[in-house]
Symmetry: C4
Subunit: 224 residues, 4 copies
């Protein structure tokens, strides 16, 4: 997971996607990963590809709106006309705009992320006070932490607008958000940290689903 | 998962079967996969072979009834007299007849497919409104979708008759059907899509089993 | 999974053990596998070895009681004095004596086998009417099938005596038995079939645990 | 899993960590493993590294307090100034001090270890009477066994003090302890045994979580 600057950053996305696919978090072509470059453009996975077998040609490069592109008017770099960027590219764009320190943005579809998104009716999911939260930057004893949930509108632009509005008002506690019935998205300052964040939020979701199944920890339950 | 026409199509079935076996969906020699060729014959996995270690000789080629066979009266092509086609070959035949655009038909036996087939007494299983349904062709917000269930008669011909009768009357919403206590079958226009469909329906079944376990989403429950 | 007679039969046990270890069914050195040879001796895994990394030296050859041994008085062939046969060798011996057609006997320790052994207080576990029972030789529609359970005595000889007594009186429906809080044992006419049997019984146990978790099928429940 | 003295003992930690990572027990850089050398120093995993891809440079060597160090005043050997020993090094130190026969100390973070740590409010977790306890040294019929639980203080030194105080008073039944909401730690006389112990305690935790989910065995329940 070293990322010297000379290595094509798509290689890290290929490895991460294969790992997530093998975990069952990117099956059936689902999910999308991106990495931001120093010129503020980013590579994002193309739509409709098996995430366990990505190749360099399965990415699209998106240039920022309003920024001079390296080669004239080009705003998007595609290996072929058939390759389309992920339908959720606009979510990556808004997260990079909101969090300038982020260089990676990963979105995956685990069963558990879908389940926990239904544990509450509202737009905030309380998290259990696990040691693993330290990996997400929460260094407290018995921490009281929550993750934002957004509704899964058919129009991605509606999801984007709600993210922008809510996060500009109330910055999120964690570098992660849930879309209900859909999946989790994280953003991070490096590809290595992004992979860790995905592993950590999925770990917490697995815990929450199992804990609810055995009646150990539930939303609204008292903590000792 | 490229499928240039010159590659033996059995190779894709071998890879898909190994992957499904590793997921626990084709254990104990269970399940059967087929691919249809331009001449309307199809290759199907032989009966009784470990699906994690198939070889080219573990397939039987079935020629359509009433069609002139390439070599005179031959209706079936077998690598050796000991190799028998899957006992459920007739289910593949009826699905290829009903859905002419299908070129692949995959049938697997997950624990979860068996469980969800018991969630209802009737012949239709309502599905949760997950984002993943988009991969099965359902592009709606909060979709109201269902999968057909058939009873697991000892005589495969009885299952075939019920599929033919029901699907001629009411075309299925999805390219998938369940046989109760038995497994799921999908059909698709390419091997790549067939693999995605299996991954997607199994994902939805895993969600349904877990959701019922934790009381999140159940048959007959109101959707918000 | 071919087993030509010239290949050392321990190689098949090494492969099967690694596979079962990777499934979580032989962790912490648990379980034991054996294969019977034409001279009625059998190779069995040694005690205390990691089952994911067995080598040819990790087996002991046991010669039948009362049979002339190939090399005079030798009853046991060990690669070194430190290698001890499995503590449960006597269970393999009694099964080979009871079922002369068996050439392989596999015993593994899944979590699910332990759980289902507690689903009933008595000595018989009813099984759900799954299609997968066909792989264990049950070709009925909606079959009514059960597996024998034995108590886990500290003295293996007590378990052996109970197996002998019960199976001589009432032959088992399936080539499998459970030891409560301990694990499942199967016997089969070939190594290939033995591996399938383990996969099938473990599949059925996984189904039973999940079905009970979601209230789908339970012991004593009516079947429709 | 042979450990001849000439092989660098960090190699065994690298293999064990990769295996545990693949099981989901060391995700997101969590957990820490150590091995003690004949001079009573020990190698421990560095903080913040992915446990699935450790290299020889990802370890720190800790020399015992008050002992003459091989190279003058050096107390810690680090491959580079950036590499920091695990934040929980002091827990390894106290366990090596309490149990002089231990040469390996492994700490992992499974979901199940976190769940079972919440099955009781007090500081002792009763374990189910499984055969697998034999691998942890409990050779009894229907054994009555328990594991110590400690609270997860933010200050590691508080956890260390409680371990020291409790274990000096009441020696533990098993070579294992739980930290609530955090994970399990085991100590063992060899790397091979340490790996087996982790597999065995995690097996028991998986059983306990599933058993509670299906109502088979619970804390406080009568044993038959």
């Amino acid at each position: 997971m070293n990322s010297p600057k000379l290595i094509d950053p798509r290689l890290e996305l290929i490895c991460a996607a294969r790992h997530f696919y093998q975990q069952g978090w990117m099956v059936g072509t689902s999910g999308n990963l991106s990495v931001r470059l120093p010129d503020h453009s980013f590579w994002i996975t193309a739509s409709g590809q098996c995430k366990g077998e990505l190749e360099l040609g399965d990415f699209v490069r998106i240039y920022p709106n309003g920024t001079a592109c390296p080669e004239g008017s080009r705003r998007v770099e595609k290996p072929s006309p058939d390759v389309k960027p992920s339908a959720e590219t606009a979510i990556h764009q808004v997260l990079y705009a909101l969090f300038p320190e982020a260089t990676s943005c990963y979105h995956v579809h685990s069963v558990e992320a879908n389940l926990v998104s239904r544990f509450v009716k509202g737009d905030t999911l309380p998290l259990p006070p696990l040691e693993m939260l330290k990996g997400l930057g929460v260094w407290e004893e018995n921490p009281d932490c929550a993750m934002s949930i957004f509704d899964n509108h058919l129009q991605v632009s509606c999801i984007v607008d709600e993210i922008k509005e809510r996060f500009r008002t109330i910055p999120p506690q964690l570098s992660a958000l849930l879309i209900r019935d859909h999946g989790v998205t994280i953003w991070a300052p490096s590809a290595k940290t992004a992979r860790n964040y995905i592993e950590l939020v999925e770990y917490i979701f697995r815990y929450m689903v199992a804990a609810r199944g055995v009646g150990v920890w539930g939303v609204g339950e008292e903590r000792d």
